[in-house]
Amino acid sequence: MAGRPPRTIATEAIVLRRRPIGEADAVLTLLTLAEGRVDAVARGIRKPQAKLRGHLEPVTRSRLMLARGRSLDVVAQAETVDAYLSLKGDLDALAVALYCCELTELAAPAQTPQLELFHLLANLLSALDAGVRPASAARYFELHLLSAAGYELQVACCASCGSELAEAESLFSAAAGGILCPSCRAGATGRLLSVRAQKVLRYCGRSGLEEFCALRMPTETDAEVRAALGEAVRTALDAEPRAAKFLDQLGERP
């Protein structure tokens, strides 16, 4: 009996996604503290009288009891730790939260504890809830998610030879994993980044989330950083996040 795995686990989790199945059930994608990304079934959750319903909404941090099932775990108990109510009342913040949840789902391997990623996402949601600028929070999350997932971008020195970067417009190559010096950029594809955009990326890497979100930058620098990080995320995760389109659509509206 000693080696037998436990039949239930108690863990904190952030609900990343909820997909309906059957008449009233749903499959949840969770980022748990104990086991990283886990899919679990929540039975009867779509019925109006379901007691667990509100505790298992996407973008909610909850304490869960998961029972081991044959293929998927089953949510046995749930209690909200933070529902991020203010965030959910702000469309721009909510769109960023959904985008970051999707990135987390793409980046986190299944059944592997991801403490750094869990705290990064939890901090992001708390900061959005506290009212930081959503677009800056998204950029911060993209850069730090790449580090947490093992694809740290080289923005302080050349991503290829490691030499110091001169204060000049440089090539950012998502495939090379960062900024390239003039001698390494021959033949490489990417986008040119202004000195200001490079500085923003470096500051993003070393500052805290709130500090970075307090930074005001010109619209064109914002666009450069956004394009570079978006490309880096798509390249590293080898996927096109669906929620990114909605973020773009919100940006288009006056």
Binding site: K51, L85, K88, L94, A95, Y99, K245, F246
Partner: protein, 202 residues
């Protein structure tokens, strides 16, 4: 595949067609198919006729985008309905549910879905532009958002509010809180917070 080779081709095709319907698994599809081929001929023919008739005669209402036989639909064409109040719902079945309450006298707008950015469902997949056009045409006083009280429902409410509000109409949403027969002890933070916000004087 001995089971497959023992099954006649027309039944296999029927099972396959039924399996494509929402909520019908492979076993249910098999049961339904065998029931239909064993049932009295008029039963299967009646079903086939009803299916074809529904597909041929049902269309979208050009005003509210609900499913209808006549355009405009009976609700939009009813002069007793308040055309200045539009209740926005996700699905045609929600119109049936609100009508069942018997107290709403306005008209509807069916979005045929809900914003779900993570599943790639954006505003362009819903009939939001048609709603904005109705509002922009004037004579609308209030838009009542009657989407489900889920995260996606809330996102839809906020998005519609953002695109409709510039036209100067009042945008409201259905009240949220504890369902009748609920247990306060098990209520989640969001529901309780909304119930407190929406409390009413006795």
């Amino acid at each position: 595949m001995p089971e497959t080779s023992a099954t006649p081709e027309p039944i296999l095709r029927l099972v396959e067609a039924l399996h494509r319907l929402p909520g019908i698994g492979p076993k249910s599809a098999q049961r339904l198919a065998y029931h239909l081929v064993r049932a009295a001929p008029h039963e299967a023919e009646g079903l086939a006729r009803a299916l074809l008739e529904a597909r041929e005669r049902i269309r979208y209402c050009s005003r509210c985008v609900n499913l209808t036989e006549r355009d405009p639909c009976a609700i939009c064409a009813d002069p007793r309905r308040d055309q200045a109040t539009i209740c926005v719902v996700e699905q045609p079945l929600d119109v049936v549910a609100v009508e069942r309450s018997g107290i709403y006298r306005g008209v509807y707008h069916v979005l045929h879905g809900i914003l779900n950015p993570m599943e790639g469902i954006g505003p362009e997949h819903l009939h939001i532009d048609a709603l904005v056009a109705r509002v922009a045409a004037g004579d609308v006083r209030e838009v009542i958002m009657a989407t489900n009280p889920s995260l996606e429902g809330e996102a839809t409410v906020m998005y519609v509010q953002r695109v409709v509000a510039p036209h100067g109409v009042r945008v409201t949403r259905l009240a949220r809180g504890l369902p009748s027969g609920a247990d306060l002890e098990y209520a989640d933070t969001v529901t309780l917070a909304r119930a407190l916000e929406g409390r009413q004087e006795l």
